[in-house]
């Protein structure tokens, strides 16, 4: 039977910063982020890829961090909810969630924000149907989704307006 496996050294980038950690092969990226790196914004809701609360972006793609091994993060670029806001303040998607009351208990919110950010970057102007399809891997039990969809639509509007602004400014 397996004896204690040696921990593996991993170098990765989290929210733009180079990070190193040691982990057991069985440790999920979710465990590493929360327990080793202290990034507890990433939530465990089901630990088998069915709720999306642990969503992070790896190399521009949203993934369930409970279904990624920590060791697989070697050389990757990871974005978590902690990296969405920056020194200028909250990202429009965060503002729109707050203004639009798109959260109640808040446990699914980080996962939704990360997925929504990926969606807004990849598919600006997405239809309601596309938003609902692409975010169907994120469960929310409080809101009935209405205000979440509206917040994403509003953020999309604001982002495209600001892109247009920057174009005219150029």
């Amino acid at each position: 039977m397996t004896t204690a496996t040696k921990k593996i050294h991993v170098t990765t980038t989290v929210n733009g910063e180079s990070v190193e950690f040691l982990c057991e092969p069985r440790n999920s990226l979710l465990e590493v982020l929360r327990d080793t790196l202290g990034l507890t914004g990433c939530k465990e809701g089901c630990n088998n890829g069915n709720c999306g609360a642990c969503t992070v972006i790896i190399n521009k793609r949203p993934v369930n961090s409970c279904l990624v091994l920590g060791v697989e993060a070697e050389g990757a670029e990871i974005e978590t909810v902690e990296g969405i806001a920056d020194a200028r303040g909250l990202h429009p998607i965060q503002d729109c969630f707050l203004e639009g009351a798109a959260l109640q208990c808040g446990i699914c919110t980080p996962g939704f924000l990360v997925s929504a950010k990926a969606l807004l970057e990849k598919k600006p102007g997405a239809s309601e149907e596309t938003i609902r399809f692409d975010l169907s891997g994120n469960l929310c039990r409080c809101t009935g989704y209405d205000k979440i969809v509206r917040a994403i639509q509003e953020a999309d509007k604001q982002l495209s307006a600001s892109t247009d602004d920057s174009k005219t400014n150029d």
């Binding site: 929360r34 914004g41 465990e44 709720c51 707050l98 208990c105 938003i131 409080c142 009935g144």
Partner: protein
């Protein structure tokens, strides 16, 4: 729209805890850490019903990294004593045995032992080395089978309680309830039309996204400190103290942010176990419940079997009702049957009625409250029968409801008379809504409506507001905030004092720092804790009057407070913040306090409209359009009221269409995951329109009624009625999942 007399109430400020929740900084229990924190893992029974013959923990204890192992033998013996938990009561022996089995396991997932270790993987591996010897017993999960005299018996000492009278022989029926009003036999004789049918609903779970979690530290001084995810920190404290047989003052509960509850986070599951692990290991211990355990070993809400009969006159007037209702209690007597019996006819004035209810133990997890506990099951029956009556009488479904809707003075079957309520107003709003007045076109499409009622309760709440040097306020209150209640409480205090919501820092206190406050449940927080915040503000104002009189060198009686919160006296005026900062520089600090126990139900009513399309080839139901209409009394923060209505409706849609516990032939749950326990995803529902009706509430200074619970009730019958409208097939079983709808459509062809 009528103009509102309020400055803050009715506006939509950003919630105070919002920034923390969109940046990942908010601390939920699983995010909380202590130095030396151990991870716990609970070993659970694979069998639905078995005697525990022996438990050998030696191999687990010898595992490197393991700090403690506990079994039922480590739990104090608790008497068969009933403890009041504010809302509802509990038998402590049952509560303790549900946290950790002693002699017998009563459902698959029942805890039998727990291990703490340096990390969760080691704890899990060590737990797997615990050898439990079981003697298998026959099991039963079906309500009707469990009621049979020859059914496998869960508890040898359970004798049916018939309002204080105990049965002679033990059975699985914990409680029989019986209500009567008028003369039901005569009522049915006089009825021109009678409809009667049997209905079944499946076990469903609250489905909160945050699994239960606990951090416990059994301190060397004998105090137990708990950081936990609970709907009521004081209730949690009491349950834990009773199970551990220590004083309530020896337990400190710090409520962390809570990731949903809906009634499922009132009872304790992990707290006593974690505390005992901590005591034995001398270290703080955390336990995070895996999602499978959340389904298998916490408290879903009852499955039901119902036979309901209703009679009416040709003009649609209801004359008589009869209901026979059995709810699945799970492994221990539950309490959900009571409100079920009280709610079955609660929306309509019925002269003659009789209700019988049974609370039935089965080898399933101990059932608990879930948003309007017990009301949704019976509404599924009654609200469909209303449509059946309407059809037979050739009356519009809305008209028959309007004709019989309860109003002020209507007497419920269980006795009490309604004060001013808003069901008629909700039905009128439905009648006038865009949804109701938009024609529904297309094949296989149908529209349904249904009403719903939930009591809403008061109970105890406490609040204190401390004034800062700049006149801003720190509001300390005792209600754990699950859906934005810090904002709705701060807004009420801001309205009272004449300041802005953003001038208040609301904070949920721990059990050492804030006055006793009952659970966040019963749709009570914005109502009752809101009243506490209001009263605390009033207390502060009366203290400030005295101090203003000193400052302005006049009599206290000469100081008055305007509607906008401005103080005036002796020719001087000052707004709240201005006066508060003037007073801060001299004299004692200002703290307003209140503790309240309003006893009046807030009587929440709602009515829903739904349009569906049924795929005739597969039986799959698509929700095309949905509107929730509900009387909020007065909406403090309309966005969060809408959110409650939308969220409740979607939970009801899930209950209606796909959610259910599946059990195999061995009575083991087979779908304990978010993959197979099919809660609605974003793609399964449309936008949910809301119409907030505001009829006020004389028992609250701002007219608030509780809003959380009613919206889950109407969706199953409204969707059932819509399916009938679309297909002429009447669904009598929940969930109305595609295989069942398809099969029903085959047989009704």
């Amino acid at each position: 729209m009528a103009t509102t007399p309020y400055r803050v109430i009715g506006t939509r400020p950003v919630r105070h805890d919002g920034a923390d929740k969109v940046t990942g900084k908010a601390v939920y229990t699983a995010d909380f850490k202590l130095p030396g924190l151990q991870a716990g893992f609970i070993l659970r029974s694979p069998h639905p019903h078995a005697k525990i013959l022996s438990i050998d923990t030696s191999a687990a204890e010898a595992t490197a990294g393991v700090s403690a192992v506990v079994t039922g033998a480590d739990f104090p013996n608790v008497k068969n004593k009933i403890a009041h938990l504010g809302e509802g009561s509990v038998n402590l022996a049952h509560l303790s045995a549900n946290c950790m089995a002693k002699d017998k396991v009563l459902y698959k997932g029942h805890a039998v032992a727990a291990v703490s270790a340096t990390n969760a993987h080691i704890a899990e591996e060590a737990a797997a080395k615990i050898i439990v010897e079981y003697e298998m017993l026959p099991s039963v999960t079906d309500i009707i089978e469990a009621m049979a005299t020859d059914a496998p018996l869960l508890h040898a000492d359970l004798f049916t309680d018939d309002l204080g009278l105990k049965a002679d022989t033990a059975s699985n029926v914990a409680v029989h309830l019986h209500f009567e009003k008028g003369d039901v036999a005569t009522g049915f004789e006089q009825a021109d039309v009678v409809v009667e049918a049997e209905f079944k609903t499946a076990t469903v779970h609250q489905g909160y996204i945050e699994p239960h979690a606990i951090v416990a530290d059994y301190n060397e001084d004998g105090r137990v400190r708990l950081w936990t995810s609970t709907q009521g920190s004081f209730t949690c404290r009491q349950q834990t103290a009773e199970i551990l047989q220590i004083g309530v003052g020896d337990v400190l509960v710090t409520p962390c942010e809570i990731g949903g509850g809906f009634g499922g986070k009132i009872a304790v599951y992990l707290e006593p176990t974690a505390a005992i692990l901590s005591k034995k290991s001398g270290r703080p211990v955390s336990i995070r419940m895996p999602r499978t355990d959340v389904f298998e070993a916490t408290g879903p809400t009852p499955a039901s079997f119902m036979r309901v009969k209703v009679g009416a006159k040709n003009d649609g007037t209801l004359l008589a009702g009869e209901a026979w209702i059995a709810y699945d209690a799970g492994a221990f007597p539950s309490g959900v049957i009571g409100p079920g019996c009280m709610c079955v006819f609660s929306c309509y004035d019925i002269e003659h009625a009789v209700v019988d209810g049974y609370d039935v133990c089965v080898n399933k997890p101990h059932t608990k409250a879930y948003r309007a506990p017990g009301a949704t099951q019976v509404a599924f029956a009654m609200e469909q029968l209303m449509d059946e009556l309407a059809e037979q009488l050739n009356i519009c479904p809305l008209e028959i409801r309007m004709k019989n809707a309860v109003k002020e003075g209507s007497r419920r079957v269980d006795g009490p008379v309604y004060p001013q309520i808003g069901f008629v107003e909700c039905l009128e709003a439905l009648r006038d809504s865009d949804h109701w007045n938009s024609p529904l076109e297309g094949d296989n499409r149908g529209r349904g409506i249904a009403g719903g009622f939930w009591f809403g309760c008061g109970l105890k709440s406490s609040a204190a507001c401390s004034v800062n040097a700049d006149g801003t306020i720190n509001l300390l209150e005792g209600s754990t905030d699950i859906g934005g209640s810090r904002a709705s409480l701060a807004m009420q205090l801001a309205e009272t004092l004449g300041i802005e919501s953003s001038d208040i820092n609301p904070m949920v206190g721990d059990t050492d720092s804030v006055g006793y406050t009952d659970v966040t449940g019963g749709s009570r927080v914005t109502f009752a804790t809101g009243l506490a915040a209001y009263e605390a503000g009033r207390d502060l104002q009366s203290q400030m009057k005295v101090r203003a009189a000193e400052l302005w060198e006049c009599e206290t009686s000469e100081v008055s407070i305007g509607d906008d919160g401005t103080f005036s006296g002796n020719g001087k005026t000052a707004g709240f913040k201005d006066l508060a900062s003037q007073l801060f520089s001299g004299g004692a600090a200002l703290v307003g306090r209140a503790t309240v126990a309003p006893e009046c139900p807030t009587n929440g009513f709602g009515a829903h409209i739904v349009d569906v399309e049924v795929d005739p080839d597969t039986g799959k139901v698509t929700i095309l359009r949905y509107t929730v209409i509900q009387d909020a009394g007065k909406a403090i923060h309309p966005s969060y009221v809408e959110g409650q209505l939308q969220g409740g409706a979607v939970q009801g849609i899930g209950w209606a269409l796909n959610e259910e516990y599946f059990f195999n032939d061995d009575d083991q749950m087979t779908n304990a995951s978010f993959l197979d326990y099919r809660m609605p995803t974003m793609l399964d529902v449309p936008m949910i329109d809301t119409i907030i009706v505001e009829t006020g509430n004389a028992d609250h200074p701002y007219g608030v009624r509780g809003v959380g619970e009613p919206p889950i009730i109407p969706p199953p019958p409204a969707i059932g009625n819509a399916i009938y409208n679309a297909t002429q097939t009447r669904m009598r079983e929940l969930p109305m999942s595609p295989p069942k709808v398809w099969l029903a459509m085959q047989s009704s062809d």
